[in-house]
């Protein structure tokens, strides 16, 4: 039960994009069309969940017993980069159809700070491996929700008549700001 609450809080209350500002690049850059944002969400869910589990396992079985915890950042970023690489190769060989819809987003995720951010905060909060995985999954669901909502809003108000200097980036940022205010409401739920 507490794990369920953890996942809900990671997805809604502490939304990774709208309240922690992690993973903004894909959030802004892949949210123009709903189709592409669906593919991105799928890729992010897979990668963040797997990366949380593996990074947490490495921390608990290798880094912590050897007192090497100061190597966290270096080890995690390398693990994430190679994990994404392997995943891309695996999907490409085993399921070309899935690769077309999901795999093309994988390289983009290596530099996604949400993945490293979740792995590091799992360690900071002293989560065990199982809790880390659930936390990663919840966070990724939160990302998927945010990017799908933004893509839907952007498809609708793309051609709205806004002042010239607010066209483009400021318009999208203001939309994200209003979404962020809306997500504040979840703080009262838990």
């Amino acid at each position: 039960m507490s794990l369920l609450l953890l996942a809900i809080s990671a997805a809604l209350v502490n939304n990774v994009v709208l309240s922690q500002f992690l993973g903004l690049c894909p959030f802004l850059g892949v949210s123009k069309k709903i189709n592409t944002s669906v593919g991105m969400s799928g890729a992010v869910i897979v990668v963040i969940t797997a990366a949380s589990a593996i990074c947490s396992a490495i921390y608990h079985f290798i880094l912590a017993p050897l007192n090497l915890t100061y190597l966290n950042t270096i080890v995690f970023i390398l693990v994430i980069a190679s994990l994404v690489q392997f995943m891309e190769m695996f999907i490409k060989k085993s399921n070309p159809a899935l690769y077309q819809s999901l795999g093309v987003f994988l390289p983009l995720i290596t530099t996604n700070c949400a993945v490293l951010g979740v792995a590091l905060s799992n360690v900071q909060k002293n989560y065990d491996i199982w809790t880390s995985t659930i936390n990663g999954f919840g966070t990724a669901l939160g990302f998927a929700l945010a990017i799908l909502l933004l893509a839907s809003i952007r498809e609708r108000n793309e051609d709205n008549d806004v002042p010239k200097s607010f066209k483009g980036m400021p318009h999208v940022l203001l939309t994200a700001g209003l979404m962020s205010i809306a997500f504040f409401g979840w703080a009262g739920v838990l």
Binding site: L28, G29, N72, I77, L78, T111, G168
Partner: protein, 271 residues
């Protein structure tokens, strides 16, 4: 000497990472709850950027092209770990308020972007000054955002909780505390970029566009575009037929040659 000044001018004014290029959004929005946090983050990034540009320029002839991105990541991650210890030891307050965003300097696309677009191709001294210029430009952007958010959201300038350099009395102005919360970050940045768009319009420059990583042109604008290309150098070729099929959905990864082009393109535009 000219080269040095040109690099500084390029980083601070012409290609300012936040105000002109709108790069490195995550730390920009996350840590600018006050002026001091913004400046602290900016200076930490500056230190990492200068050291990484120096090391990468120094090692540019020794790092094989195929493994350059992992090599850059290891260099940057080691530097970030050092900075983390320095901050923890000397400014523990700043360290705790920046929190997880310090290790996340590793994935700041400005650092890898500069390594790839400039330091890996240039001599040591210009690379160092390129780092200083870009770092100062980044610090300036963070400072402006932090200043505005602290002033509007808390009614203070350079506050440390108890004392402040300047405090607007409560009777005159009630702080709109939403501005130092998450939504305020998006809203303040939106207004800053809109202001920059107005200035750019007068100078005949292109306004800030939302990056679109689903098209080739949009991907080239991202400083980490070369990351995508470099992350999978061996798998690039077989990906091409698939990419041609799913043209609209595919993210082009072979955009490496375009990174230096964007720099020159900006130059040409200005001229």
């Amino acid at each position: 000497m000219n080269k040095i000044l040109e690099r500084l001018h390029n980083g601070i004014i012409k290609e300012n990472p936040i105000l002109i290029m709108t790069l490195g959004m995550c730390p920009t929005l996350a840590v600018t709850t006050s002026l001091i946090n913004g400046l602290g983050m900016g200076m930490s990034t500056l230190a990492v950027l200068v050291c990484s540009n120096f090391l990468i320029s120094l090692l540019r002839k020794f790092i094989p092209d195929t493994v350059r991105i992992p090599a850059y990541i290891v260099i940057v991650a080691s530097l970030v770990t050092i900075i983390q210890f320095v901050l923890q030891g000397f400014v523990p307050d700043l360290y705790s308020s920046l929190g997880i965003y310090i290790p996340l300097i590793v994935v700041n696309c400005i650092i890898l972007g500069r390594a790839e677009a400039y330091a890996s191709k240039s001599k040591i001294i210009p690379s160092i000054f390129d780092g200083i210029g870009m770092g100062l430009g980044f610090t300036m952007g963070l400072g402006i955002l932090g200043f505005l958010r602290e002033l509007i959201g808390n009614g203070t300038i350079l506050s440390d909780g108890a004392n402040a350099l300047l405090k607007i009395p409560e009777e005159i102005y009630t702080p709109a505390s939403v501005m130092i919360l998450a939504p305020g970050a998006f809203i303040v940045l939106a207004f800053v970029i809109a202001t920059m768009n107005k200035i750019k319009e007068k100078k005949g420059m292109k306004p800030a566009e939302v990056p679109d990583y689903t098209t080739k042109e949009g991907c080239a604008g991202c400083a980490a575009a070369s990351m995508c290309a470099g992350a999978a150098p061996q798998t690039e070729a077989p990906a091409d037929p698939l990419k041609a099929k799913a043209e609209s959905a595919a993210i082009p990864r072979a955009v490496k040659p375009e990174v230096p082009k964007t720099e020159t393109a900006v130059k040409e535009e200005k001229e």
